[in-house]
């Protein structure tokens, strides 16, 4: 029945948004990585549902890639990096948790208002997920800006990509397969490169707190 599928898709989308908020509320590094993995898993399932409803089988591949890459592989890489450089357990936010949560809520409202005219145009079973995906994007950006540790900035970027992917699915049922593959590859390489640089930063500066990166200024 269309409504169950619809509700399932909407439910998974809400779960993705919820994970974004959980990310903002988390205070330990391990929690953040796990929440990100959970979000990617929900996202992969969402893609699979959309594939099932619309019958476009190439979305299954994309869903599988999301789950394997973002829910399994990348969290492993991040955890490995964190263990190797013995990062301290706390996330170091520059805005405290309740305020961060409220700002994230405000961003969600902003996302809703921005996408409202877009939702009216065209028809798609998942178009109302667009508002949630933009909210996840903005919250990812917010996490990047307000968390000082280098690794949380990487995770913020990955959350932005998740939001983006959800937006792509919601408006246009994803993009041509080769483009999706290329994007995944890019994300993976980006994470690897950032991992290398996190190593170097820790080695050179003895801390991952990026507020120490203030030497270059005019």
């Amino acid at each position: 029945m269309a409504t169950i599928d619809n509700n399932l898709v909407n439910g998974l989308a809400a779960l993705v948004l919820l994970a974004a908020f959980a990310l903002v509320a988390s205070q330990r590094m391990q929690t953040i990585v796990r929440v990100f993995a959970l979000q990617s898993l929900a996202l992969g399932l969402l893609a699979a549902c959309v594939a099932y409803i619309t019958g476009y089988s190439h979305i299954y591949i994309v869903a599988a890639l999301t789950i394997v890459l973002k829910a399994l592989l990348i969290p492993r890489i991040l955890t490995y990096v964190m263990q190797r450089i013995q990062v301290t357990k706390e996330v170091e936010p520059s805005v405290n948790t309740p305020s961060s949560l409220l700002i994230a809520g405000a961003l969600a409202v902003v996302a809703y208002y921005v996408t409202e005219p877009l939702i009216m145009v065209g028809t798609s079973i998942t178009k109302n997920v667009l508002a949630l995906s933009l909210a996840v994007l903005l919250i990812g950006l917010f996490v990047m800006i307000t968390r000082r540790k280098a690794i949380t900035q990487v995770i913020g970027l990955l959350v932005m990509e998740n939001g983006l992917f959800m937006a792509a699915i919601s408006i246009t049922y994803g993009m041509p397969l080769i483009v999706e593959l290329g994007i995944f590859f890019d994300v993976l390489v980006a994470v690897l490169i950032m991992g290398v640089f996190v190593f170097r930063i820790k080695g050179t500066f003895e801390t991952l707190d990026t507020s120490f990166l203030r030497r270059l200024r005019d």
């Binding site: 029945m1 909407n10 908020f21 409220l102 994230a104 809703y112 508002a131």
Partner: protein, 311 residues
């Protein structure tokens, strides 16, 4: 539909099982901590003992301390009449969910005020902490229940329960889950459960609810304890009937009422087990970290309302 006798029976049932629910929670906690623990009927014995004793009131206390136990009890009894637990017939026409929330607010207000009345330090401390907690939680509760009110188009709690129970899959939207999550955290906060407050402690460093009860004794204490237990049961009942009321009796037949009772008992036990698990596995949060958890509840409720509009 409102069947007056059934509604009153429902209220009586709620009042009478309140101490039992508390007893079950304590027993479960004990078992989880490898103790034998008190029997599950212990709260009844405690109340019985307390009702026999005299109450002593401080010289400095005013009329407020004397009337507070009665006000609180009355508020809870009224609320019991309004909440649909195992059947949707309740005296909803007397008041909708806004009245309900404000009955709880009245309960909290009088309790906090009376705690200040005796002029003791513990009471004042408990009151201020309680007010801090409720300042964040009350909007969360309102928004969480409002999300279901928006969904079903009515603010009457039994109407909400009726609509949700009879609509099948269409109304199972993310709003419900988000609202339920928010309401559950609010339940823990309002009823002095870990991780917000430890109900078994009497250390001034760690108590909120208990601090406000220190000045009472005898019958007054019995009334306050009983109304607190009723508040817990009512919150549990609202949690199920406002969000996932399936199984509730919507018709007046004996069969559906019996089924409703059974389902209600099961739901209560389920939540009670969860509460006991949470209480045994988590430590109470430090006071200045409480706003983190409470804001999470607020945000969940906010998301519940928002996802109603967006999705």
């Amino acid at each position: 539909m409102v069947n007056l006798p059934l509604a009153i029976i429902q209220a009586v049932v709620l009042v009478s099982i309140a101490p039992l629910v508390t007893g079950i929670i304590r027993k479960l906690k004990a078992l989880l901590q490898s103790r034998r623990g008190p029997p599950i009927w212990q709260p009844y014995y405690d109340l019985q003992k307390l009702f026999r004793k005299d109450s002593i009131v401080s010289h400095d206390a005013s009329w407020l301390t004397r009337i507070t136990p009665f006000v609180c009890m009355t508020a809870m009894l009224l609320a019991a009449l309004l909440v649909p637990a195992f059947t949707t017939s309740s005296l909803g026409f007397l008041g909708d969910l806004i009245v309900l929330v404000y009955l709880f607010a009245m309960f909290r207000f009088f309790m906090a005020l009376a705690a200040l009345d005796a002029g003791s330090a513990f009471g004042g401390m408990g009151s201020s902490r309680e007010m801090m907690v409720s300042s964040v939680i009350e909007p969360a509760i309102l928004m969480a229940i409002f999300s279901t009110a928006l969904l079903t188009g009515t603010t009457d709690l039994s109407g909400i329960a009726n609509t949700l129970a009879t609509s099948g899959w269409e109304l199972v939207v993310p709003s419900l889950f988000l609202g339920f999550g928010a309401f559950f955290i609010a339940l823990l906060a309002e009823n002095a459960r870990v991780p917000v407050d430890n109900p078994a402690t009497h250390l001034e460093l760690t108590m909120i609810h208990e601090g406000m009860l220190l000045e009472y004794s005898g019958k007054d204490l019995a009334l306050m304890e009983l109304s607190s237990m009723m508040k817990l049961v009512l919150f549990l009942a609202i949690a199920w009937s406002a969000f996932f009321p399936w199984g509730i009796a919507t018709q007046l037949t004996l069969g559906s009422v019996a089924l409703g009772l059974l389902v209600f008992a099961l739901k209560l036990i389920a939540l009670v087990v969860v509460i006991a698990l949470i209480e045994s596995s988590m430590a109470k949060m430090r006071l200045f970290k409480l706003p983190n958890l409470l804001t999470v509840s607020f945000i969940l409720a906010f998301l519940a309302v928002m996802s109603f509009y967006v999705l």
